[in-house]
Amino acid sequence: MSDLINTTIIIATVASGIRLATPFLLASLGESIGQRSGVLNLGVDGVMLLGAFAAYYTVLKTGNLFLGIMIGLILGALIGLFYAFITVNLQAQQGVSGIGIYLFGLGMSDLLFQKLVGTPRPIMPFRILHIPLLSDIPIIGEMFFDHSLIVYVAFLLVPLLSLIINRTTYGMNIRAIGENPEAADSLGVSVGGIRYSALIIGNMLAGLAGAALAIELGIFQHNLTNAMGFIAIALVYFGAWRPLGVMAGSLVFGVVAAIVLQCKTLGLIPRSASDLAAMAPAIITILALVVVANRFRQPTALTKPYVRGG
């Protein structure tokens, strides 16, 4: 046993967990901003898929990774704009319209891939960015400071979003609108405007999550995300709508998956039980929801369209 589980493996597993967590983290950070402002978006997975394809295709054609990331972000912003229009202005049922966005993204990304690319062709992923000094720290350095740029970006977004939500006027407006839009409106805060911006930012992050996934893997494929977006939504509940909580949730999800994977590699999990092991994240999430649902309330106005005086 002791020779099976050594420091290298632990380092690799943690590093792998961090990598696996990254797209979840980006997507659920985005979703949490939208939900904080009172809008549920079940279409995250669709946005991720479209973002992934857009980024992949851009990089394939131009070889420019940053352009790919930009296109993923822009695409997310456009979908966010559209989603804001139907949920804020048209007051569409949020649960169901999100499913529509998901189906659209699922079909559209596949369609475009088949028509524009066809045979999967690889793109060059981000190079590993060793952070000077920090990556030289034994163990810790390899675990945390030996990743690609996008991983650092995702994790740096956590304190940044915490700061924005808790310390800026904009963040305060988002929090107020998710709880009591009427009160915010009565003080002259534009409920629609804030929701638009929150949804645009949120969907940009979903697009970025997809772009990061495609670029990290260097490839695109039909349903590349494998319903990651849905898990990202659950992680928002898991993390009680707070960036730090969402990060914890993503890390738990990623590291559990990495551990399961590593155990399979080492033959510690019988092959017949691997399907049952795959249920673990979903079941853990439901259990977490049971605990969280009564402890942390969701934003009071979540899923409720705001109509003045209505």
Binding site: T169, M172, N173, R175, E179, A183, G309
Partner: protein, 520 residues
């Protein structure tokens, strides 16, 4: 205090009209406000006071009419716009975000000095200054959900003070305050008026209006019915203007035999939505054939009392008995099975399902009974028959049985609910605001039905803000104030004066003098 009468009013609203589906909330209303003036708006529930103020605050666009500020026509299209024009509003319902701190609630919507970051330290300091100047005790760092009702009201006032409004609208700010808090508030408001700010003050409490305001405008059914000066009017005159009719005499009340108590309530303590005790240890009994009227200003625990008796709200402690049998608490079904009926205050929220049609609403309670339901299937022939009988008996005006309840007028919905509730011949009937928003004809009919039920031996609890109604219907009258019964008086000994004072929480033996500000 007032400036010379020739000056332009700071605010003028001309010919304001506003429709909502089914109602005309404001009908050609004109209203003006002078600098440094406290102008009161009076009116019954639904008279259109809040609507007028929300139009002024940019919440709703008016269908017709124009707002002038300092003589200039303005189009206030949003609260942000109104705030920019120096208008602030303290709403009838709290406009606070419970999950934010006091300081954050105050800072909301303002541009921070450290934009884009918030500058809560500066806000906190300023709040402290304000609370020192005006004697408003509040902790800026506390979360709003932690605050008591009175404190929340103070936060609302601080929000307005902080914005340094030149026009401040206060929509029923005293409804939830204790007399001491009201006194403190009035002190602050006078201070503000003296500093040259103009205030619009809305209240149902006549003595408050008399005490605070320089001018009074009365609304009824969306129309202005008059303007008055507090020094040369009386409460009775104001009431007349508000209600618009002579006080009716009580319907015939044949003496009914008082037998055993049918409803007994003992030591009832009920928590309100704000997690404080809304009903604090009530005990009373109602006999068969007797009507106990509960008078009082809304929000003094009447609603919680009714809901607790009906099993919709679980009381903290206390006992409820119907015909001597204890009713399990917090169980609506059990209460109904024990013979209780309830005409709720909010009829479209609790009493009827707007999208259900007439007959579906009729069988809401007893659709499971054998006569309406066999083996799980509804029996439409008897249901329709039953519904038609009730429609005829209660003269509910409807095109047909399939009409959704939402298409009925308010009075007819109330008749529908009453018909349903009385059709089971209840042992105990709780009727909350049974004629609110109902026209005179329908109200009379409803009163008749309630008396009829009394003759049939039902023990009735009538909860109403309408004093005339309470006087007309009741055998005994209980006055509720802050969750307690100020006293129970027999109808014969009850006078409007006495009840009115008890409603204001004043001991009837030492009535306060009307306050009229003396000119300086």
């Amino acid at each position: 205090m007032m400036e010379e009468s020739g000056s332009v009013p700071v605010l003028e609203m001309r010919g304001i009209t506003k429709h909502f589906p089914g109602v005309v909330a404001n009908d050609n209303v004109s209203f003006n406000l002078l600098k440094g003036e406290v102008h009161a708006l009076l009116g019954e529930n639904g008279a259109g006071k809040s609507t007028l103020m929300k139009i002024l605050f940019g919440f709703y666009p008016p269908d017709a009419g124009q707002v002038f500020l300092n003589g200039h026509a303005v189009n206030l299209t949003s609260p942000a716009h109104a705030i920019a024009n120096g208008i602030c509003m303290i709403h009838q319902h709290f406009m606070l975000v419970p999950t934010l701190t006091v300081a954050e609630n105050v800072a909301l919507g303002l541009r921070s000095s450290r934009h884009p970051l918030t500058d809560l330290a500066a806000v906190t300091k300023r709040i402290q200054q304000l609370s020192d100047t005006f004697g408003l005790q509040v902790d800026p760092l506390a979360y709003v959900w932690q605050l008591a009702v009175g404190e929340r009201q103070r936060v609302e006032i601080i929000k307005a003070l902080y914005r340094d409004a030149s026009i401040l609208i206060l929509d029923e700010p005293t409804a939830v305050l204790t007399p001491k808090e009201v006194d403190d508030l009035f002190q602050i408001l006078r201070q503000m008026a003296e500093a040259g700010r103009s205030l619009i003050f809305i209240s149902h409490k006549l003595h408050e209006v008399m005490a605070l305001s320089d001018r009074i405008t009365v609304l009824r059914n969306g129309c202005v019915t008059g303007e008055a000066n507090p020094c040369d009017t009386s409460r009775a005159k104001l009431a007349q203007m508000m209600v618009g009719r002579e006080v009716k005499l009580a319907p015939d009340k044949p003496h009914t035999q008082i037998c055993e108590p049918r409803l007994e309530v003992k030591d009832l303590v009920v928590e309100g939505d704000r997690k404080t005790d809304a009903v604090c240890g009530l005990s009373f009994q109602i006999c068969g054939g007797e009507v106990l009227g509960v008078a009082g200003v809304s929000g003094n625990g009447q609603r919680e009392l009714a809901e607790a008796i009906c099993g919709l709200r679980k009381p903290k402690t206390g006992q409820i008995k119907i015909d001597g049998q204890s009713v399990p608490s917090g169980n609506a079904k059990a209460a109904r099975e024990a013979g209780l009926s309830y005409v709720p205050e909010e009829r479209m929220r609790d009493g009827a399902i707007a999208d259900f049609n007439i007959f579906e609403n009729f069988i809401l309670l007893n659709h499971g009974q054998k006569r309406f339901c066999r083996m799980g299937f509804l029996r439409f022939t008897p249901i329709h028959q039953h519904s038609r009988t009730l429609i005829d008996e209660y003269t509910v005006k409807t095109p047909n049985l399939e009409t959704p309840a939402k298409n009925l007028s308010g009075g007819n919905i109330q008749k529908l609910i009453l018909a349903r509730e009385l059709s089971s011949d209840p042992k105990v009937l709780i009727a909350a605001q049974p004629t609110r928003g109902v026209d005179i004809g329908a109200a009379e009919y409803i009163h008749e039905r309630l008396s009829h039920q009394r003759t049939n031996g039902t023990a009735t609890l009538v909860i109403s803000e309408d004093l005339d109604e309470v006087l007309a219907l009741s055998d005994r009258i209980a006055v509720m104030f802050e969750g307690r019964i100020m006293g129970i008086v027999n109808r014969e000994e009850a006078s409007r004066e006495r009840i009115g004072l008890m409603m204001a929480g004043v001991d009837p033996d030492s009535p306060p003098a009307d306050y009229c500000p003396s000119p300086e």
